[in-house]
Symmetry: C2
Subunit: 332 residues, 2 copies
């Protein structure tokens, strides 16, 4: 079976994104290196526009809309980074966006999404729903059907996956010769794009996924050889609270990812504190998944000994409410 995307798709996405996305810095930390006995290269997607890699995939998708799709606009349902990514990409491309968010989403996220829509195309709005009585997918589909808007899924979509893969493409250009690449896993959009880029640019580089211990559906799926669905996991890594890999992302993960390892919430907090204290970076819990596998006490269950290696680490995002962030930095 052929995979949903090839490296040509990632390269084409990179050309579309040039000058639009930040080429985020690859930061080093001698303290981190000493702690792991390895050379770590942190690809800082928390410094990406809107604060996460998600902007890459959203923009790569919307910029390929047909004129008709552009007129009708994009719809997305998300309470997280995907919502803001679609809102920002739509404004930049001057097309309408409708973002379906739960009415009890954090006020900061509602405000940020509306701010990205501001000054954009008429018809852009945040649509609130009651997550206890309404079905967000049905609401999204209604906008798609009634207004002809295009639903942009958060990960299970070839153009989204190709866009996310440009993060690894940049990292592998800036830090050649990596032995391993660690990437967080939610629905698998980021890791599938990154694995395709790594397979082409650094075939000897082992790509490892990192999931929350409480939400290891992809690890289970790889073990069983089919997509496993789990109840919404309880973890502070809200960007990885997915129930299952996508039907497009999972085959890529099966084909190109070496394995999935897990870390728990306490380890995520340790990694977030390391980023704040030693690297002066604000990283959201999900954004700290890959780094926690190396930096937190105990490491990640299932990860082989990587001492002496050159390791790429994707820091996927930094969008965390300041009050929550402050609480996580100081709790315990």
């Amino acid at each position: 079976m052929s995979l949903a995307i090839t490296f040509d798709d990632v390269r084409a996405a990179a050309a579309r994104l040039a000058g639009v996305v930040h080429r985020t810095p690859v930061l080093r930390s001698r303290t981190a290196d000493a702690r792991c006995g390895a050379e770590l290269f942190f690809k800082c997607e928390n410094l990406q526009r809107m604060g996460a890699f998600k902007f890459r995939g959203a923009y790569n998708t919307l910029v390929q809309f047909t004129p008709e799709q552009r007129r009708a606009g994009a719809v997305a349902f998300s309470s997280g980074n995907h919502a803001q990514a679609v809102a920002l990409a739509a404004r930049l491309l001057d097309l309408p966006s409708v973002i379906v968010m739960p009415h009890d989403a954090p006020p900061a996220k509602l405000a940020a999404t509306r701010e990205y829509q501001r000054g954009g195309c008429a018809g852009s709005e945040v649509v609130l729903y009651d997550r206890y009585t309404e079905d967000r997918e049905a609401i999204g589909r209604r906008w798609a059907v009634e207004r002809g808007m295009t639903l942009v899924p958060p990960y299970d979509h070839a153009q989204v996956m190709a866009g996310q893969g440009t993060a690894a493409l940049e990292l592998l250009e800036d830090a050649p010769g990596l032995d391993a690449l660690l990437v967080c896993v939610g629905g698998g959009g980021l890791i599938s794009g990154c694995a395709v880029a790594a397979a082409a640019l650094a075939p000897d580089c082992a790509v490892w996924g990192v999931e929350p211990a409480a939400g290891d559906d992809t690890r289970q799926s790889l073990a069983l050889g089919r997509i496993v669905s789990i109840p919404t996991p309880q973890t502070i890594a809200d960007g990885a609270q997915t129930q299952a890999s996508g039907t497009l992302t999972f085959p890529v993960i099966q084909a190109l990812v070496r394995g999935i390892v897990t870390v728990d919430d306490a380890q995520l907090v340790q990694a977030m504190r390391f980023f704040a204290e030693r690297m002066k970076l604000v990283v959201e819990p999900t954004g700290a998944l890959a780094a926690a596998a190396l930096l937190a006490d105990g490491g990640a269950a299932g990860l082989p000994d990587l001492r002496g290696r050159r390791i790429g680490v994707i820091v996927s995002g930094g969008n965390v409410d300041l009050a929550r962030y402050a609480a996580l930095l100081t709790a315990g």
Copy 2:
């Protein structure tokens, strides 16, 4: 009267520091640009080794020690970034360092300084004193006299000033054509080095200093044409709690700096929150001084209208205790 340093000194410092300091990234924020109606270029010295620009000046000084000075080592008194900078530079150069710190300094700072000394030259230690009954300068001088150690002052020293100037040298290379450069002012080591670099590389670039409103000794000194000394100012910008400019730094400021503007502590907190929320950067209060002049409500008293301009902003450091940081992010 000739100034303490020339651009050749800054350029020579840059050559000594190559491969030792991080060439810190110059980050952009479209949100910041929109808020100011200008193009801002943030030179992120919070991402420098040991978390602040101070490493530049300390290393540039210690690396020029004579063999005899190397054997005896360096002594510094500081409870802040200068202490850690000297400790780290000494370890890298394999010479002893004695850091004189108050016994009630934050435990995190004591621990960090000792960590930088660890594995370094024998004889390196932190010496504690009682700030209510003892004189740290006398203690530092005693070590200098009795052991032949070289006292490294935090700012009023040509090699320190030249080292700090490399921050602006890098920024002006990476962001050519700046119309203005904003730099925080404590004792004046950073701004004097930066002003010398700017005068040579970008003579049309107006260099502005930013002081805490409660500690505007340099602004007063410029107004009176002589160094004014004030009581230790009460401000959260602990790196700018200096009482007076240096005798070497002040003439450079007089000659090359356009003026000094001030911001208050509430504005510093606003800027710190902007960095955390929008740029995902941990910035200490002193590190936020220059940015606060542009980004905080009300701006800085005395700053001209810079809309439409290209403005460099030095983000000088990110060393802030996490508990204090969390409190500042969420207070009020």
